[in-house]
């Protein structure tokens, strides 16, 4: 959880500037600026050499739901994690808020 908190702290972005005054793709804004180069993995055997500029990926669906990320759901197997959001429910004591916010 500490690592998680550090992550959110570091990523305090200037959203207005990123959205309206930058040429970064939405994915780049969300995931940080490292341009995810997929070029290394599909070298050679592809006859069609699909020019994959990330945003043009034909497999990306215009969909209403985001796919569930099995890995990120695993954190809820932990009792402590389950307890950490207790303060978001009406029954949760205010005191619990100190730990996670």
């Amino acid at each position: 959880a500490a690592q998680l908190a550090a992550g959110t702290h570091k990523r305090r972005k200037d959203w207005i500037k990123l959205i309206y005054n930058s040429s970064l793709s939405p994915e780049e804004i969300v995931n940080g600026q490292q341009s995810t180069d997929k070029s290394s993995e599909d070298e050679g055997d592809d006859f069609f050499q699909v020019k994959s500029t990330h945003a043009e990926d034909p497999d990306v669906l215009d969909q209403g739901k985001e796919p569930l990320d099995e890995e990120s759901l695993k954190k809820w197997e932990d009792e402590e994690m389950l307890d950490s959001i207790r303060n978001l429910f009406i029954t949760g004591a205010e005191a619990a808020a100190e730990g996670e916010g």
Binding site: Y20, P58, D62, F89, I90
Partner: protein, 365 residues
Amino acid sequence: MAQPISFIHFSGHQHFRSRLVLSILSGRHVRIDKIRSEDKNPGLRDYEISLLRLLEKATNGTIIEISVTGTAILLKPGVILGGTLQHECPLSRAIGYFLEPIIMLAPFAKKPINITLMGITTDDHDLSADILRTVTLPHLQLFGISEGLELRIKKRGASPGGGGEVQFLCPIVKQVNTLNFVDAGKIKRIRGVAHAVRVTPQFSNRMIEASRSILNRYIPDIYLYSDVYKGNESGKSPGYALTLLAESTTSAIYCAEAISEAGVAPEDIGLRATRALLTEVEKGGCVDQKHQILVLLMMVLGSEDVGRCRMAEPMPKTIQFLRDIRTFFATSFKIVPADISDPNCSQLLYSCYGTGYVNANRTLA
């Protein structure tokens, strides 16, 4: 701003639906090209063409031109008509794909819409009929669209065979209310719908039981309902799913869903949905990520006043949507951290000055 004759130009197949919706609402002509032009199978997919057909039906005077290769379209929007409609959705996408844009347009139609859509009611890409009914429609109520707003799930249809049927009724409004939603409150109750079609109804109960094993610790007000559809009403393919929603004291709603998967026990589907719900709850805000676009759109269309909403960080498609909104309506949002004193809080406060959009299609009573 540009003259009405000029086209707004986009490239690529992404954000297709929201761009069509923005075009129709704003009356601006749109040209989208390079639609999968580099793909082995270039051009529009069958469901995209079906959506264009649907929009053609729901409007009057819309002109859609599709290039020979299908990689470019031209849309000259007409007026939103509404009325009684029917649409057979292709089985490549669920009904949610088609209903989402309709929900955005329907309040601004000439006549109240009464549309019957047939196809798949629940799949893993699009908002299911259950989410649309229990979560999406309440979001419209935030903007004063409520009387006569209804989604009836007449038949369920799982992927791949479909066979489901839903009926969507939406009133028309002159203008939408300005939103001021900054207090997310605390969660007071959890609701859920489990359904199982063409499999033993016991699966519903097994999902519910698994889900309760986690949720019972939080609050007592939990009601998970096993929705039974039989015979002709249960579609053509087997499938089951659990849809969960958590509602806060200020009526913020978080939702999650998991659907059946080959080789996975119903208990695990139940747990998956539950954990996904907790993830949404943890993200917090007044509107969950699945509904960011809908809420932002209605905020832009709101009366000429400042609308505010507290939400989690934008998703990639939300970011593009914000950019597109500026292109169509010349309105940008102010987005600032919701809670500056708390460095761990990643929630943001979105605000904008409404454009004062008036439903000009509405027949004067």
